[in-house]
């Protein structure tokens, strides 16, 4: 015999009545106030435990009994042979070992999915995406970029000559030249169909093969669908995290944004290295030294007038102001138009000249001590590998031949 205490609800009026339910093998009796209710034990339906909440016991009809959670109730469920799959779930929730294992398992799953699953998924999807989507994407990005860019001041002949020189060695649908005061020497890949060069970049060198090296880097981004993949990765991350944390609005989105940003930055660094590798292979195939790409990195750095050490603090500052500046930046992590920047830094380069002035006025003595910390933080935040590392990599690759 099991005696359970709890509350009885008649299903018509809203007031509950303190009651007891006595269950025996052949009959169950519910007593509340003066009332006495006979119930057939086999018709009893006992809700699975959920935390320490009272458990609802129902039978035919709209009325029910909410039993205080107790060990006797668990025994009753077992003795009636009415354990359901939800009772099994409730059992899992009670076991500490299961909870620890579930937590670790989930952590590993999220990390594994983020590191291996999301890029693979994005890659597979990117390659089945129709090219018209990429063209549309590039068009809408260029429209936004053009708010900050002017028509190229290069002569038509020079543009045509470079276009022919590049496209004969690797095809993209659209190659644009633009004048960009604030961006400086740079090149962007807007999608697999479209690459943009700035005038400053073209004017940095008289050696067209050096420009070709940069073009191949951009072509690497284009051929490997980096822009498309970045966008798909953001979407995949958002879907996964939303599924896990439930539907969150407002502040929740902010919570989701940071891992998203960090994850994106990591993918993006990988993309830069891949694009460098692509360029190296293409250059070697044409018998051109990959050192020309490294030389261009030097030239771009010099044109932005900033050494690699200085970049550290600059990128850091820029990232901290990212939200307010997002609309200004052609490359944003999840919402804005996506661009794979070229040799050095995409729009971040735009701010470098200002930063240099600041540095000249206030020499920063603490820089060396900070640089280790800054470097690791930068590596985490920056979407591009530190330039000196890339140059070292390119030089090593050049010597392999």
């Amino acid at each position: 015999m099991t005696v359970l205490s709890g509350t009885y609800y008649d299903g018509v009026s809203s007031r509950g009545h303190p009651a007891t339910l006595t269950v025996e093998r052949l009959q169950a009796v519910l007593i509340y106030g003066e009332q006495r209710l006979q119930i057939y034990p086999n018709s009893l339906n006992i809700e699975a435990a959920l935390g320490r909440m009272p458990r609802k016991i129902t039978w035919q009809g709209n009325d029910f009994f909410a039993a205080d959670a107790s060990a006797e109730l668990d025994q009753l469920v077992a003795s009636l042979g009415k354990g359901s799959i939800m009772d099994w779930v409730a059992g899992l929730e009670k076991r500490g070992g299961i909870i620890v294992a579930a937590t670790l398992g989930t952590l590993l799953f999220i990390l594994g999915f983020g590191i291996y699953g999301v890029p693979k998924l994005a890659e597979a999807t990117a390659y089945i995406l129709p090219e018209s989507v990429s063209a549309k994407l590039a068009y809408s990005t260029l429209e936004k970029l053009d708010l900050a860019l002017d028509d190229s001041a290069l002569s038509d002949e020079r543009q045509a000559q470079l276009r022919a020189f590049f496209l004969a060695r690797g095809e993209v649908d659209e190659l644009y030249f633009r004048q960009a005061q604030r961006v400086g020497a740079n090149a962007f890949t807007l999608s697999q169909t479209t690459v943009v060069f700035t005038d400053d970049l073209v004017q940095l060198t008289s050696d067209d093969e050096e420009l070709l090296a940069v073009y191949f880097h951009e072509l690497g981004h284009a051929r490997l669908l980096h822009v498309e993949r970045s966008i798909l990765q953001s979407v995949a991350w958002a879907v996964v995290l939303t599924m896990i944390t439930g539907d969150i609005g407002g502040v929740g989105e902010l919570v989701l944004a940071l891992p998203l940003t960090l994850g994106q930055a990591a993918y993006s660094r990988k993309h830069e290295r891949e694009a460098d590798e692509f360029a190296i292979v293409e250059l070697k195939a044409l018998g051109i030294s990959p050192l020309k790409l490294a030389t261009m990195l030097d030239r771009i750095e010099a044109s932005h007038g900033v050494s690699h050490e200085d970049e550290l603090s600059i990128s850091l500052d820029l990232k901290s102001s990212e939200s307010s500046e997002r609309s200004e930046r052609p490359e944003s992590t999840s919402t804005g138009p996506q661009v794979e920047g070229s040799a050095i830094k995409d729009s971040q380069g735009a701010d470098v000249s200002n930063a240099r002035e600041g540095l000249a006025e206030n020499p920063n003595d603490a820089k060396d001590e900070e640089s280790n910390f800054s470097r690791s933080l930068l590596e985490l935040l920056s979407s591009h590998p530190i330039t000196s590392e890339r140059k070292a990599y390119i030089r090593a690759a050049a010597q392999d031949n």
């Binding site: 509350t7 009325d63 799953f109 407002g250 901290s320 307010s324 701010d351 900070e370």
Partner: protein, 369 residues
């Protein structure tokens, strides 16, 4: 989720609003919340693992378990709320929704261009219906003392509240937006029902304009203070040129400013949330019972900021604790000035087309007040 529940808790007879002094003598009955972070964490993590292992199928059961936990741990006047949703119905709805989305994608990708536009228009027309069905499903699956809540809205009302009025807000460059909020709140609360008693909202458009003003004012003042702080730290602020130039600055100062902006950004949400909660919950009436709240910007802000930081540093694993803390705060600051909570009667014959409910539940939009 807890908001939906609280929404449900407010139904009422459609009567005209009565000044506080003229209300019948009432007793203040507080809401109580019994949930605990650690306890909910166990439920949450098991839900996640089972959802992953079943490739998402278990998510319907997970949803029901989560809702039941929050509803069942909320008490008013000695009795707890209940969530009665059927996981199978929810699963069917989700599968149907996924099917429709796939169908839409196929039509748009491979059909003639005109078809895509047509299907898009149909989707826009269907949206209010989905919202209304989701609201109704959620209300009907919520109960207290064995009496179910209900939602009597219809497609037309939802279309006005969620398409027409927001559009008006946009057309008026945002000046009509608080009015749209007002209209949405009216739509919700004039249609919620507990048993046979309808709820009423005594809000006025001015309340929502004050809300908008509070958020705008906070953003403006906070923004100015932050710019001042930034310049104090020796950083060139927003210069006349559009370049965002910074002087030399250590990583520490950068982090400090970053943290300040972070907190500021979260606090904008907190101001909005707290003021919205006050506006809505201080104006709900159901059968002469009035709901009231003492939720404040500072109290809510502390919780929202600390929750966000903790969720971040724990890679999301603090989330169930954050949810419980937030619900605890809201319930601790919510009450009913009750005249009579005992004689609500269930409304009979309210069963409705299950297909619609399933689709509604599938798009579970989390719309509530």
């Amino acid at each position: 989720m807890s908001e939906g529940l609280i929404t449900g808790a407010m139904g009422g007879d459609s009567q005209h609003s009565v000044p506080v002094s003229m209300r019948q003598q009432s007793v203040r009955v507080p809401f109580k919340f019994y949930g605990e972070g650690g306890e909910y964490f166990r439920i949450w993590i098991v839900n996640i693992v089972l959802t992953i292992l079943t490739l998402g199928i278990y998510s319907a059961w997970a949803t029901v378990r989560t809702k039941r936990y929050f509803y069942g741990n909320t008490e008013l006047d000695g009795d707890r709320f209940d969530y009665l949703g059927d996981p199978i119905a929810i699963l069917k709805g989700r599968l149907l929704a996924i099917g429709l989305l796939v169908l839409y994608q196929v039509l748009v990708s491979f059909g003639p261009p005109a078809l895509g536009g047509l299907v898009g228009l149909l989707l826009v027309a269907a949206l209010p219906w989905v919202i209304y069905r989701a609201l109704r499903f959620n209300a009907q699956m919520s109960s207290w003392r064995g009496v179910r809540f209900g939602f009597d809205g219809n497609w037309g009302g939802a279309a006005k509240a969620y398409l027409l009025w927001p559009l008006f807000g946009v057309v008026t460059l945002g000046f009509g937006l608080p009015y749209a909020w007002y209209k949405q709140n009216q739509y919700l609360l004039s249609n919620y029902r507990f048993g046979a008693s309808n709820s009423t909202s005594t809000t006025e458009p001015a309340d929502f304009y004050l809300l908008a003003l509070a958020v705008f004012g906070f953003t403006l003042v906070g923004g100015i203070l932050l710019v001042l702080l930034t310049s104090l730290l020796g950083i060139t602020g927003f210069g006349a040129n559009e370049d965002f130039g910074f002087g030399a600055m250590g990583a520490f100062a950068a982090l400090l400013v970053g943290a300040a902006y972070f907190v500021f950004y979260i606090m904008i949400f907190a101001v909005y949330q707290a003021r919205y909660f006050q506006t809505v919950y201080n104006n709900i009436e159901i059968a002469d019972n009035y709901v009231g709240t003492s939720v404040a910007v500072t109290g809510l802000g502390k919780i929202v900021v600390s929750n966000t930081v903790l969720v971040l540093v724990t890679l999301g694993f603090y989330y169930p604790f954050a949810q419980v803390r937030m619900t605890q705060y809201l319930q601790d600051n919510l009450w009913v000035d009750a005249v009579d909570l005992d004689s609500f009667v269930a409304k009979s014959g309210v069963e409705s087309n299950p297909l619609g409910e399933e689709i509604g539940e599938a798009f579970d939009l989390g719309i509530g007040i």
